[in-house]
């Protein structure tokens, strides 16, 4: 199945001995000139790239406190060295968080610190050579910006920030990454990552309406561009057709239907994902975010809700107000933006949803905390609600739920292996190897607790697992959407299932 060795799952998550250079050839395709130019970057590597890169670095050090403080503060204590799933899966020391940072730091020290200018060998500083640039390109694309390292560093040094800065510098000298940049281009041109134009979208949604009506006898609507709706739902475009994502979208629609609120999708903002985050570009992240503001204004909605997606929720929760706010034209009584799980949990607590948990009895669930949700957001009002809300919803709609090992969930969750702009076939080896810790924890509950399925609330996690689970001997359909579980257990008012339920009770 693969042209590389798939790691075997051991009893435990094992920290390997270092194996320098094993992954040094592994990098993604470089962006073509038109992918680059659409985003405002030079088409190909500029002639004076070294000078330009150092200048850009200087500029970013003045704009980002994170970068400046992180460059200066690392004591090389090694606390982070065994925390990255890519290091655990590959053993390449440049995949240790500090090893990755040092690729940046050695250039920083050389050009921006006295010690590095005068005693480069002593402090491990180096000129920005072509080999260093190659290392940058390959290893800064073996980081999913998952922030696990930042939890364990005594100074909270977040390698994701450094990866983003490095990618921004590389894009600005003409060496961007094809996957992310091409996708951002599609968002600008068509409105979503998949390049799904408005008619195709309308068609898909109509298909969903028919499907749900066939199943239940209830005409649940999946509206598009409906002016005056109360809620604008922004969801990752994978929800429109990929499995298991689409089952989640079906679930959102049913919940809105039962709650009796009016809602709509937008063809202009038909994408929650914001790959501007991945490439570390404030400007692109902002431009992508502004579409959502404009759609909300155009459609005259009162509330903004986001579908299941990890990094999109980080951008929405943490950055949207900064990038595209203030949202004073929306109803201030609700969180802006709100997560679909906050909405659904609210309805569950109100009792407006008729749930039959036994409809999910064919499954025993576990939950994969997505990195960006876990370590960069809340889903609710209290710190830690990002862990509790999804579990509360799952437990409200399923009888069988078990958590994975404590050090692999919640704030210590391991990335799926495909986040941060790595969800591309040209990085398959990194993706598969990076999934090892999660697969190890999953196997444990599958064998010892009878778990059959893993639920997630992130489009990237879902796509990554569908692809990677089979490499480790699981089935690709063992990954499910949380709203798919809600959808399974939700008995719509006036549906065939409701009458069956009434008959059974009578």
């Amino acid at each position: 199945m693969a042209d590389f060795e798939v790691p075997s799952i051991k009893e435990d998550i094992i920290v390997p001995h270092i194996n320098p250079g094993v992954m040094e050839q592994s990098g993604p395709f470089v962006a073509k000139p038109d992918h680059q130019e659409a985003l405002g970057f030079p088409g190909e590597l500029v002639d004076n790239w070294q000078e330009a890169a150092v200048a850009k670095m200087g500029d970013m050090l003045k704009k980002y406190r994170s970068l400046k403080v992180f460059m200066d503060s690392c004591v090389k204590c090694g606390a982070c060295t065994d925390k990255c799933h890519y290091f655990i899966g590959t053993a390449d020391p440049k995949n240790m968080p500090v090893g990755r940072q040092d690729l940046f730091r050695k250039v920083y020290r050389r050009y921006f610190t006295l010690a590095g200018k005068f005693f480069p060998k002593l402090v491990g500083a180096s000129d920005f050579t072509e080999e260093v640039l190659d290392d940058w390109y390959n290893y800064f694309h073996q980081c999913s910006e998952c922030r696990r390292c930042s939890v364990y560093c005594p100074y909270g040094i977040d390698t994701a920030e450094i990866t983003m800065a490095a990618r921004e510098i590389m894009a600005s000298i003409g060496k961007g990454m094809k996957y992310s940049n091409e996708i951002i281009g599609k968002v600008y041109k068509i409105g979503n990552n998949l390049g799904l134009p408005e008619p195709a979208l309308a068609d898909t949604l109509e298909g969903l309406e028919e499907e749900v009506e066939d199943d239940t006898g209830v005409a649940v609507k999946y509206p598009l561009d409906q002016k005056g709706a109360e809620i604008l739902l922004v969801t990752p475009s994978a929800d429109f057709f990929a499995e298991p994502h689409v089952d989640g979208l079906i679930g959102y629609g049913k919940v809105f239907h039962e709650a009796g609120v009016s809602w709509t999708l937008s063809s202009k903002a038909s994408e929650a994902a914001n790959f501007g985050l991945f490439i570390g570009s404030y400007e692109n992240m902002r431009r992508i975010s502004l579409r959502i503001r404009e759609a909300a204004i155009d459609l005259g909605v009162k509330r903004l809700i986001f579908g299941e997606c990890g990094h999109a929720w980080r951008v929405a929760y943490s950055f949207l107000n900064t990038l595209a706010g203030p949202f004073d034209f929306l109803d201030q009584r609700y969180p802006i933006p709100q997560h679909i799980l906050e909405f659904t949990l609210g309805e569950l607590e109100k009792g407006s949803l008729n749930i039959d948990k036994s409809l999910n009895d064919d499954m025993t669930l576990t939950f994969h905390d997505s990195c960006n949700v876990a370590r960069a957001s809340r889903i609710g009002s209290a710190p830690g609600s990002q862990f509790e809300t999804p579990r509360a919803v799952i437990k409200a709609v399923c009888n069988n739920f078990v958590d994975m090992r404590a050090d692999t969930i919640k704030e210590g969750t391991f990335c799926c292996g495909g986040g941060g702009g790595l969800l591309t076939d040209d990085l398959m080896e990194v993706r598969v190897k990076g999934a090892l810790p999660r697969m190890t924890a999953l196997k444990d509950v599958v064998e010892n607790e009878g778990v059959t399925h893993m639920a997630a609330i992130c489009a990237i996690c879902k796509s990554q697992f569908s692809k990677v689970l089979p490499y480790y001997g699981f089935g690709m359909d063992q990954i499910v959407s949380v709203h798919q579980l809600v959808s399974n257990a939700l008995i719509l008012k006036g549906s065939e299932q409701e009458s069956e339920q009434a008959e059974a009770e009578a």
Binding site: V69, C80, F119, R375, P383
Partner: protein, 246 residues
């Protein structure tokens, strides 16, 4: 006045200026560099006082390090706590009259040096024994630990074996601080100890020792988790907002 006195007086004047001036400048740069986005590592406090408490935990009990690695935490904490007590103990050389609480902690400060050196040796051992830590260690990382061990050992020699003329040392140090030089109480161990300390003071603001102030400016630790409730925007980001936003 001896040459040695002149040398140390000049050295310590310089080292004091470099240490305090340099540290103040580098910290000022941290302070004035904007943090354009909210990036606290969550779960994070939702109030300012919560953040203050988080930072206090980080600098007193090394909370994140504790989550990460118990050995490293143990050695690191031993070293820092030992260093902290030792520094407090040293206050008696530069204050007149000596504050009451400084007098009280003297006996603890004495044994803290042991804690400190044992911690440092543990940290140094890690740099050779753990392959991952060995890989990330530059020569400067090892030299720094050796320097601190040297300071600790020479200090312990004076505390436990051959005490120099402390009364005269204090006169000398106060003299450097207030620009009326006094004779330096020459002794080999004291010379070594004071030279090493001066080196530490001189390299402090140019080295990774900036983590001592950096930790307070780390956005993943010092930001309040309230992006939905309160709009966060910095100057350069605001400038992008000319005209293209409805």
């Amino acid at each position: 006045m001896s040459i040695l006195t002149g040398f140390f007086a000049v050295l310590y004047s310089l080292a004091g200026i470099v240490l305090f001036g340099g540290l103040a400048y580098r910290t000022w740069v941290f302070f004035k560099t904007p943090a354009p986005l909210k990036i606290p590592t969550t779960p994070a406090p939702t109030t300012r006082s919560g953040v203050a408490f988080r930072l206090v935990r980080e600098v007193t009990i090394f909370e994140s390090l504790f989550k990460s690695n118990k050995w490293l935490w143990l050695f690191g904490w031993m070293f820092h706590f030992g260093l902290f007590l030792v520094l407090l103990r040293h206050l008696r050389y530069v204050t007149e009259p000596v504050w009451g609480w400084v007098v009280l902690i003297q006996p603890f400060g004495k044994y803290a040096s042991i804690l400190m050196v044992v911690g440092l040796v543990g940290l140094l051992a890690r740099r050779f024994l753990v392959d991952r830590v060995k890989y990330i260690s530059a020569p400067s990382d090892i030299l720094m630990l050796l320097l601190l061990i040297g300071i600790g050992l020479s200090g312990m020699l004076m505390t436990f074996v051959s005490t120099p003329d402390i009364v005269q040392l204090k006169r000398f140090l106060l003299g450097v601080m207030f620009f009326s030089w006094e004779e330096f109480p020459a002794s080999i161990i004291l010379v070594v100890h004071m030279l090493l300390v001066a080196v530490l003071m001189l390299i402090f603001p140019f080295s990774k020792l900036l983590h001592s102030t950096g930790v307070f400016f780390s956005p993943t630790r010092n930001q309040v988790d309230n992006p939905r409730e309160k709009r966060h925007i910095v100057g350069w980001a605001l400038k992008l907002e000319s005209g293209d936003k409805r």
